[in-house]
Symmetry: C2
Subunit: 199 residues, 2 copies
């Protein structure tokens, strides 16, 4: 007996291709689908198609949206002169949860990564430049992740923005709140000291 029936293995492989799903979990999920009613399974399949076909990107900030302009770009209560550049829509979600930032966003949809063969042209950088040329922008906050790729992308974009003579900032590095000096890595500690502020 083949250990897993082909349609089940195929389904497990699809789950496996998702972000953060391992082999055992993928099989577990495939079995969960078998335990669904046929209606539930169809609703699940429809939800996939729905999400994929109904969600596009905002023509302005490139964040995901189901309309032409996302709710942030079309809002009058946001400060359209401050653009926060993030790697992905999850970044927007994370910052929106804080309810502190009142500007608008620009989603790059990735970072420059020679290892993965991703160059600046595959990111939404030209859309950002076009936006800055078109609109009155006073500050660009680069909020790519503090990883090697995120830093490289931040530096690349900051250089591109030099000619525009606008304020370009980078989110702070340092110790996360609640952390312990003892367990912080050296680079984080170094950056925390460098970025020290008067109290």
């Amino acid at each position: 007996m083949e250990l897993l029936l082909k349609p089940l293995q195929d389904l497990a492989d699809k789950f496996r291709s998702l972000d953060g799903v391992g082999k055992k979990s993928s099989v577990k999920m495939a079995f969960s689908v078998l335990n669904m009613s046929e209606d539930e399974a169809r609703a699940f399949a429809d939800a996939i198609i729905c999400a994929k076909t109904q969600i596009g990107v905002c023509k302005c900030c490139q964040n995901i949206t189901s309309s032409e302009l996302c709710s942030i770009c079309s809002s009058d209560s946001r400060d359209h002169s401050i653009i926060c550049v993030v790697e992905d829509p999850q970044g927007v979600m994370a910052l929106e949860k804080v309810k502190e930032f009142n500007g608008v966003y620009h989603v790059l949809h990735g970072t420059i990564s020679p290892m993965k063969g991703i160059g600046p042209d595959q990111l939404k950088i030209k859309e950002l430049l076009a936006r800055i040329e078109r609109e009155e922008v006073s500050e660009v906050i680069i909020a790519t992740n503090p990883t090697v790729e995120g830093e490289a992308t931040a530096i690349y974009i900051s250089r591109l923005l030099k000619p525009f003579e606008i304020k370009v900032t980078r989110i702070a590095n340092g110790l996360p709140v609640g952390a312990d000096l003892e367990y912080a890595d050296e680079v984080t500690l170094y950056r925390a000291i460098q970025g020290r502020r008067d109290i």
Copy 2:
């Protein structure tokens, strides 16, 4: 802005309903679907429908199969007089990996669980009895999990099988290979001593 677009939230909810998927993972998976091409998303949806519609249960052992009789039940090289009773198809998979058992299986599709409102009638127990009446069975090995529900189900089935006067056995409890006495729980240790064998 609603933090998650509705079609995305709906899809995340579907993932959430799968076995072992938490809230954060479900959102991560929903985003993975957005990053697929439309063809990939359709193939994913098809795989769900395919698995659900093509896989049924074997009319003999109730294990999952894409034909009328599963490959184990239709095999001549297996000993059809020994039936190993397991909770679910995953149990068959686990035992088949060992390549030690040459009998056939019977899948209950659950365990008796008053807490979840699952009684003996919702399990494939009458199909097991019908099989034993119909076929020449010499031994029934009850291999439900060593949990409260699994034990209760094992005892229930063993009582039902009394009138047939066939050998009914239960898989052994004891220390898993590679374990440490220090970290074993008391019930397991007790069973390990009770089940001691001559060497």
